[in-house]
Symmetry: C2
Subunit: 505 residues, 2 copies
């Protein structure tokens, strides 16, 4: 019995299917945590920040020109504009849009009741149980992209799943985008760190999808952080111009540790984040009305004893719920949250913090969730085990977001007619009809008794996760890609690498 149970778990661990549904289509009602009176107070604060404090746009004269043409006043780099005008411009952005994937079965809808999960973004380090902690490199990057592609609970592969630190910074974006385009057929992001890198990403997407599909669809998006508080530098304003200018999507994310880049208050930080992101959305719609825009949010707290950022704490959990409600109010797709933690390894701390963070992210209705899997050390490190552990839990949120099935079959009246009081339902007709689909069965949770678990080697979840991702990689098969397209991409990269000097900054 114990051996059979173990064999079943091993089979589950080897499961490498890709998702039946390419994203979550939520049925569960939304959770409104703010009453109408408080909402009015918060709206007024957003407007006050936009109108009376203003947002600085720096080092981008073209951005200033666009703002002035759009009716704003720019004084000492500070953009002042009517909040009403900002809200009108935000309404030009689509409340939901489709980002197509090169495999049409993996197209994702971003916005509305749809929720899309993507892995960690931007960690310079990686860690796995056998290899320990080390700088990210292209070998790790490739493995992680393959895992994100293979995992049924990830819908989108993001971009900087770890920093491939062995590739020159000036060439890195080309190799990263190419990996996502060829090792996976799920949708992904492009680079943003410099205007030319954003352009390369968009150009490569045009090659991959062809001009027609590119012109008619969102095929790639950029994800970029404002310089909170209240500053938008040229990396942001130029990324918006490149992506939105060509009809592609942009995610703009105020990154605020309350107490540092915002006041030491969740309410103030939430309104500041809304003001920054809404002004960026308005800017994107001046660049191109109707361009896909995702209102981003990344708020966390800090240890006010040591200054260290903290994650999965009640204040960012509260901010997830609050920002969900506020984003719905302005009618924009939302990115927030993720499976976040300050822990260095995949211990209980990592899981408690990640679960509270992701539970609130999911219930808040976040439409695009970067960092949904793989995050360790406040985002400094991508964990191989963490990636598959978090992704395993994402299946539970997907099931929860389906809501409560109260159909006649779910009410099971025939079961009560069949089973007497004090009886059991194990073998009744209703159970036989429904048991294979009744429950989400996570691959990495061991629910066997202590004897079976000990017999199997007393493996903790971290060890089981190591076994799972290594098994997954041995089963990897690249999704098919037209050889001519692949060659065109490789030609593009090779030309650009010869044009761009190698640089490590």
């Amino acid at each position: 019995m114990a051996r059979r149970a173990r064999a079943r778990i091993d089979r589950l661990n080897a499961d490498t299917t890709v998702p039946a549904s390419p994203h979550v289509q939520r049925q569960l009602p939304l959770f409104d945590v703010i009453d109408d009176e408080t909402l009015a107070v918060l709206d007024a604060q957003v407007d006050w920040l936009i109108e009376n404090v203003g947002i600085e746009f720096r080092d981008d004269p073209e951005a200033h020109r666009i703002w002035i043409e759009g009716g704003a006043e720019v004084k000492d780099n500070r953009v002042h504009i009517d909040a009403t005008r900002v809200r009108e411009l935000c309404r030009l952005a689509p409340p939901e849009f489709t980002q197509i994937a090169r495999n049409p079965e993996r197209n994702v809808v971003i916005g509305g009741n749809n929720q899309v999960f993507a892995p960690i973004y931007g960690a310079p380090f990686v860690r796995d149980l056998e290899g320990g902690r080390r700088y990210g490199d292209m070998e790790s990057f490739e493995k992680l992209v393959k895992l994100a592609y293979m995992h049924p609970n990830l819908h989108h592969t993001g971009l900087v799943i770890c920093e491939p630190c062995d590739v020159p910074v000036s060439h890195r974006h080309l190799d990263m985008v190419y990996m996502h385009m060829t090792r996976s057929d799920k949708p992904h992001l492009g680079a943003i760190t410099e205007m030319s890198r954003a352009q390369d990403s968009v150009d490569m997407a045009e090659i991959l999808y062809g001009k027609d599909a590119f012109d008619q669809n969102c095929v790639i998006m950029g994800n970029v952080n404002t310089n909170s508080p209240l500053l938008v530098d040229k990396v942001v304003s130029q990324a918006i111009q490149v992506y939105c200018g060509r009809g592609q999507g942009i995610v703009v994310v105020p990154f605020i540790l309350s107490g540092a880049m915002g006041p030491v208050s969740t309410a103030a930080s939430v309104t500041q984040a809304m003001a920054e992101a809404m002004v960026c959305c308005a800017f994107s719609q001046l660049v191109r009305p109707g361009a896909p825009f995702v209102l981003g949010n990344f708020l966390s707290s800090m240890s006010l004893k040591s200054g260290a950022p903290t994650f999965g704490m009640p204040e960012p959990v509260m901010s997830n719920y609050a920002i969900g409600q506020m984003a719905r109010r302005v009618g924009l797709p939302l990115r927030c949250g993720g499976s976040l933690t300050a822990s260095k390894i995949e211990d209980a701390q990592a899981a408690y913090e990640s679960a509270d963070s992701m539970h609130s992210t999911a219930l808040a209705g976040a439409n695009f969730v970067l960092h949904a899997a793989g995050w360790l050390e406040g985002g400094l490190c991508t964990g191989f085990e963490k990636l598959v552990m978090d992704a395993d839990r994402l299946g539970a949120y997907q099931k929860l977001l389906n809501g409560l099935d109260a159909s006649p079959e779910a009410l099971a009246r025939d079961a009560y007619e069949e089973v007497a009081p004090a009886g059991h339902f194990l073998g009744c007709g209703h159970t036989m009809r429904n048991y294979t689909t009744a429950f989400y069965e996570p691959a990495l949770s061991d629910s066997e008794n202590v004897e079976s678990w000990e017999e199997g080697g007393s493996k903790d979840m971290r060890r089981r996760a190591y076994e799972r991702w290594t098994t997954m990689l041995t089963a990897y098969e690249a999704p098919p890609l037209d050889e001519a397209v692949d060659e065109a991409l490789r030609d593009y990269i090779s030309r650009r690498k010869s044009e761009i000097p190698e640089a490590w900054y």
Copy 2:
């Protein structure tokens, strides 16, 4: 810097304060996951179960007499009664009530917007990092009661924090109740496993509180499981008669693993649980109108491959949210959920499952939460580390349940007047005024950088939790108790032990 950070964490670990607030007074809005149309369908199913299927009351002729006198029909042990009559009787129970503690500062309000957290109940085994897994005994029991008393985030000490397996079963309840009465001054539960043990618990409470306080207050409660499906045996019906008969409180809990003790469907299991608990509430109000009653619920899923119970999965998470809404509808205080897991040790699985389980328990508005800390192995084992790890996270839920502060001070307009765009808020006036209370700072989360963490010995959360509970115990001081009362309790126990033969069943 690293050393200072470490010293701070050590100080936090030694923190053994008792709570400023004896229970959570929730400000956060409630989360309704079921729409009105579905609610009507579920209500109709509850009524159908009560009226057409009926609930069996077995081996308790007195219970049958009470039912018949109350207007029910009893046929072959099966109680049939109008659902309308059941709902009327349920309205006689108080929507909220106070359980007093022998230290009045620790009185708890159960019901309404109040939420009370208590530790694990009923595990035969214990586990700690150094001692490993073993049968519970009175030494462990005493330590665990002390920890529950000392922890600021636990409001109530429950009862069977582990089974003290070295004490004869027939005497065990006396020693357990005495430990809670003397090692702690927080409220607690009494025994229920047999009518005479329930009576002993209530009698001891009358000695502890004195006759007047006992007659005028709820000073003790019993917690008892129905025999799902649809059976109430005499343990339950007699516990209700003993506790409610003397004006004390009772928690009645259908324990349903969907697919075994209920249909393999969350909706059906939720309605079955409501039907069982509401009928027991109606019974309690026939015993004594106005007696404090807590509508309990314990639903979980199972692995339909191996039959093992699973915890922290989306189906029980959904049932927490759903049952919260349904309990509010009938106006009864609710017990559900907890920090539940099937994991054998305090690894990431334990924490993911516990966090999803407890997050939903807290948001669902559960008024009394047994198993809020310490649960391992599907409830078979109390973890010493798990107890303090979970309790640490309970502080985060308490903070979240305070809701969003949007007062003028929280909006921090003066901070924006002081700090320019791209500046930082670390030293501004608003931060200085608020930083000490802005964030929940959990004692067991390590948010330092990887270098500091390695310098401190690369301790995972489990190791830090071990250090915390051992440190707490060295600082334990018993709360004061009148010597005459203590003596009266000891006399009672000694008399009862001489009357009751030692038995191990």
